[in-house]
Amino acid sequence: MIRLTAGVCLLWTTCGAAVAVDGVFPYPYHKHTLPNGLTAIIIPMESPGLVAYYSVVRTGSRDEVEPGRSGFAHFFEHMMFRGTKKYPQNAYNAIVTGIGAQANAFTTDDLTAYHLTFAKVDLEKVIEIESDRFQNLDYGKPAFQTEAGAVYGEYRKSVTEPFALLQEKLQDTAYDVHTYKHTTMGFEADIKTMPAAYDYSREFFRRFYRPENVVLIVAGDVDPKAAMTLIEKYYGKWKKGYVAPDVKMEPIHTKERTAEVSYPGRTLPLLVVAYQGDAYDPANRDYVAALLLDDLAFGESSPLFRKLVIEEQKVQFIGAHFPQNRNMPLFEIISMVKKADDLDYVKNEIYRTLEEFKEEPADAKKLAELKRRNKYAFLMQLDTPDHVAGALARLAALTGSIETVNEFYAAIDKVTPEDVQNAARRYFVPGRRTVVVLKGAAE
């Protein structure tokens, strides 16, 4: 679901001028970029006593360009909790525990984010320990090798999930040269060899954990000026040095790809039909319109959902996921089919649905309803500091800031039925398509 609303936002620039901007984001925010390139975004909001603090590194599994290093961004996320000389792991943990913070991190294809939510009185301490580990991370080989075991454990806990297997096969099939070929978890063979990659891990830190590759988002009960002063104090000496990875762009394919994968346990068959999309770009009218096809064509109120799930009951579920990425993502339609014999039928129903969107402009009433839905979903989502900062993390990773949130949602609001038709014609063609089927072990 894409979320948007109307409203007015005050955008404070670094020169201090307040700029009123029509936009979707309901909170005024303050942005400042340090001379070393670190961008900080402060979002004061009503949240008595609480602050959410996100450090968004614009590096994810997309940046794993060297052969044999898939999964390394995620692995490195784990290593970021292994301490510094000033605050060794136990000291860091004792501080986070002592302030009762909720602290976690996650890695995706395009970003790695570290986040804490805590009482506002602890803001300076959090800025101090977070800035310290981003500049001075220090761990030995034994700690590195032990953490590799935990990462392998994370792989093992997930590998029984059929969707994990399906996703792995889909990405491997749909990409030849781009690093989206592997999942964020990485290939098992690469995870196994991680303990031997200590030196590479130090290099990884030097390349990517640099100020110009990081965006801070601070939301909640916070004084922007005081927060900026603290950020300058603790991050000001962080040295530049980001080395952009040489990510190879995937060409537009001209021929459909197919694959099948076997799941060792029992499951109903899974079908994914994926199309090469486009990188995040609010100015790309076709791309923005395509994102709405997710709900229009395959959402719970779509005719296809009604037919396959409710009336014919041939599938357990069907849904779509058209993500926003730095490079070319896959627009995925996924279904769990009750009988293997119906796989072709369901696949053809997906094709038929997309053809209908190519043949005629989208239903104007439905499009208006979707815009209304997006508006209210967005409004209801931004209810805590963590939710606000978390909702903006991906945008910060894609663009280095959050300004385009307004541009993006304004573009969505302008999408016409004809735009949706044009998008369907551009993206949902056989040449861009990859189809993967997963089947379980026989009864």
């Binding site: 008595p48 909720q102 602290a103 996650f106 029984t160 059929p162 409710i310 209810d383």
Partner: protein, 522 residues
Amino acid sequence: MRYAHIALCCAFLSMILCSRNTPCAAADGTRSVPGTSKVAENMLPDDQVIQLPVKNDPTVSFRIWFKVGSVDDPWNKRGLAALTASMLASASTQDNSYAEILAKLFPLAAEYGESVTVEMTVISGRTHKDNLADYYPLLRDAILRPAFKQEDLDRLKADTLNYLQNTLRYASDEELGKAVLYNDVFDWGDYGHIAAGTIEGVKSITLDDVRAFYKSHYTRKQVVLGIGGGYDSATLARVRRDLAQLPAGTWKPPPERTPEKPHGLKVTIVEKEDAPATAISMGFPINVLRGHKDWYALALANSWLGEHRNSSSHLYQVIREARGLNYGDYSYIENYPHGGALQIPPQNVCRRHQIFEIWIRPVPNETRHFALRAAIRELKHLVDDGLSEKDFALTRDFLSKYVLHYAPTTFARLGYALDDRFYKIDGSHLDIYRKRLAEMTRDEVNAAVKKHLQYENMHIVIVTKDAKALKEALVSDAPSPIKYATPKPESVLQEDEAISRFPLKIKAEDVRIVPVAELFEK
């Protein structure tokens, strides 16, 4: 939430990987208030209404609680309570087909859903105030005017059966292990089975069963209205009037029963031929609930031993952090369903019988015996030695702030307000929790540990392959030395020696092996 929705979330979240702990926020000083109006005959009475007004909240939250759950499933219709709730919240009403309901909810960006656990059924939802007029009639009709159509029942049964036959058995070994553990701990018949039921039970459920269950349990006597956020008095009055239309009914709490601890360590090995790793869950019943003074002391000790998905967990430190055996290791004094997907405790999963539980996330198969020993050994240390003053103080400081994160939204706080009613807590559990922490002593904590925890009588569930070999190893109490692929500090290796020889004293007759394909049949 229906199982298909869970599966879809899994599909789209599979690219996001988290390493340790949590997200969220805290309270804004709002409190649940008792009803104060003079109640007419046709209104739900004050003592069945929980209000949480939040003036500036642009949304309205509903949690409508029925005092019914899987404990009320007939013995040959396990799953009936859950299916009946689904036939309300995920199916047609008399005025709208399910497809029409979805179409009407779509522009509102709102939904409602059902949650059924052993003793609670809650139909809940949230909408923006602007959309309340369109939303509320749909929610009301789901509860008061269900259609009970055969095609909806067919769809929902298929969803449940797929969950029982495929997803639960094969997709997540740790969720599987936890389900079997509750079955084993509460083996007296009506309290241990999962709310989804059994395959045989679900298959046998008919529309008449659903109608009869609805008629007997969805009554005025069994309902409690929870409403929160930016609603007005007219809305409240309307909902109270509507729910008063439910048939009068009768209700009495399920009979009291004290679960018995097992004698010795009772092991169920779930055999999965291709298990890539071993998931372990263990536990035993405890006789302490929220509101009791011991609960808060025990909660502190439990937080130290195994705070959920938090690196402060001692078990996590021993098994994951020092040895890298798995992704995490935690412990609980309250049921915590869907733990792999949640960071903070869920609401509205209350029960009168709780267990102490340890969750060891999948470890390499060759370390399963070692990991089991390590966990029980750490529990023994806690029981025998208690918390140190330092650990006590650190954990108390942590929890004093951490519990603020438990209810960041009106919807969550409303959930806690319902829970307070279930546990008959005078005031707010979370307020009491913090107050108790402020005055708690280490001696109280260690006394509560001694009183309620132990390590010699437990149910243990192990999902793994080569079950026979594991049984032999367990019964012989043979040493289980561990080999690492990479160097470890001498202190770790020395402790490993002690762990690998830690006696479990498991008897052959206390180990049963169950093929995964036989689970949840009856």
